[in-house]
Symmetry: C2
């Protein structure tokens, strides 16, 4: 059975985004095996130490990147529409049986060496969204893609 | 003082999206005059009557489109990044003193004659998002744009 992992550093803090995250995961779990992995985030360092923060977070993320097909969310990534994403998910996971990992950065993004592990870089939008909102957008798109793949009508 | 209106048919139903909507509006209201107008939506008609539903909703929306600069969210619109959106908001509202109206469709979108009222069509993404999530994305982007315009650092 296909497995989808959503991976990011730091727990989602905003309670409404957190609740939406749980709701979408539950919907996705009805269709495939899925889980969210929130690795530890780096606290107590000022933002000027961005490189150091990202490097510490990278160590938490990398152990989850060893197998599977890694899709990294990045504003420098490739844009696609929902049907194209559904096709990508179908080709890379459903047909190959590989685990699919959607990797979303923290409030400062991702260390370059982590982004470089990705098999595919996906951009959700030309616009910059907060990292907690971006997580919801990814979950919603994956749920939508699975509905497309399985031929379910998507609840608007 | 600049005024921004967010206009759409039907109240946002999901309680978490509703709460996020209120939170972003509150943040935006600290920076400019702003409000959300949720016109009546059409109930009791099956989805196959899409045209009829959209026409009924159009009547509720059109009275709010008489003045101001109308930005309609549409997957057929133009994509821009957050800085470009900030520039658009600055040029069209801050400098002209005009009211700015962000128009987002309901669960079936918008009647073509309503979309045709727009001064500008904006696309958030090549992907299709649920209309309630799209509302949050618009609010977040407008808040982000206002932070850019006012030189505030945006809370990640």
């Amino acid at each position: 059975m296909m497995e989808i992992v959503f991976l990011w550093p730091g727990k989602t803090k905003n309670p409404h985004y957190k609740a939406l995250q749980a709701d979408y995961l539950e919907k996705i779990e009805r269709l495939v095996r899925a889980r969210i992995i929130e690795t530890s985030e780096t606290r107590g360092l000022e933002e000027k130490w961005a490189e150091k923060i990202l490097e510490k977070e990278a160590r938490g993320l990398e152990k989850h990147l060893k197998d599977g097909y890694i899709i990294c969310l990045s504003d420098k990534g490739e844009q696609m529409n929902s049907k194209e994403l559904a096709k990508l998910i179908e080709d890379k996971a459903l047909k190959s049986g590989k685990k699919l990992v959607f990797l979303v950065g923290g409030f400062l993004g991702l260390a370059p060496r982590i982004a470089a592990c990705a098999d595919f870089c996906l951009s959700l939008s030309a616009m910059t969204f907060s990292h907690e909102l971006a997580r919801i957008m990814v979950l919603e798109q994956v749920y939508r893609s699975l509905c497309i793949i399985k031929g379910h009508s998507y609840p608007k």
